[in-house]
Amino acid sequence: MILNFPFIAVVAMVFIGLFAVLFKRNLIKMVIGISIIESGVNLFLITLGYREGGVAPIYTGLPAGTTYPEGMVMPVPQALTLTSIVIGVAVLALMLSLTMHIYRHYGTLDVRKIRRLKE
């Protein structure tokens, strides 16, 4: 059971983020919730690629005696996570600028008040 502990951490982060998005009324707290889900899924991708006692897949200054490819961590999840992090930055930037606009327009960040002011 201990072996799968990182995956349990992933599930915990995803659900903390989902809880924040579904139940918090403040817009910025929803944006923070989405960032938590995003870092949870990134953690999931990275832990998929780990190999017991693996070294970073870089040949410059490789510690002596590491047999490749068994001794090296799997590089593909790291490339996927790089893309996912940049996506996280882009989505975060867009959501925060929209939140600034909603605050300037409605004067409040409370989801329920915005829905009432809209009608």
Binding site: V89, S97, R104
Partner: protein, 157 residues
């Protein structure tokens, strides 16, 4: 965002060159040591954001219009897709690594296994690292600058 105190401004002045130098190192050695275009660009962009916080968005906005920064970013993006199209022209396949193994720039193929870092390797990759580096620096800085300036402007047209 208004200006910070004199001390913060002088310290950020001193730190800024080292941050930018480290960022460019990470971009340039992307194909040898951990790092690359995105990571190095983010380091330099964080240095620029430090300057933005220290000197306030009004001063920075006076210095650099976001129009020119967005032009820089388009330039980086066009360079990146240009290198990919060059791959199509020279090696017949989109994203082809036409420089690896050729005796032009960055053409040396490193020996398999643990080798010393020779910067003249990697074929197209250093060019792509450089293009993406420009793009990430200009892009992230524009996002931070525009958001900071918009929050300081009282009345939006």
């Amino acid at each position: 965002m208004s200006e910070m105190s004199k001390i913060v401004r002088t310290v950020s002045n001193m730190l800024f060159p080292f941050i930018v130098l480290f960022g460019i190192y990470v971009i340039a050695h992307g194909h040898l040591t951990p790092g690359g275009g995105f990571q190095g660009g983010a380091v330099v962009a964080s240095g620029c954001a430090m300057i933005l916080v220290a000197y306030g968005s009004g001063w920075v906005f006076g210095k650099i219009k976001e129009k020119r920064l967005s032009a820089f970013e388009s330039l980086g993006a066009v360079m990146f897709i240009g290198v990919a199209l060059l791959g199509l022209a020279f090696s017949g396949v989109f994203f082809g690594n036409f420089l690896a193994g050729s005796n032009l720039l960055f053409g040396v193929t490193p020996a398999v296994g643990s080798t010393l870092a020779d910067i003249n390797t990697g074929g197209v990759l250093p060019l792509m690292n450089f293009a993406v580096g420009i793009k990430v620096i200009a892009g992230l800085f524009v996002i931070v600058l525009v958001m900071a300036y918009a929050s300081s402007v009282k009345e939006w047209k």
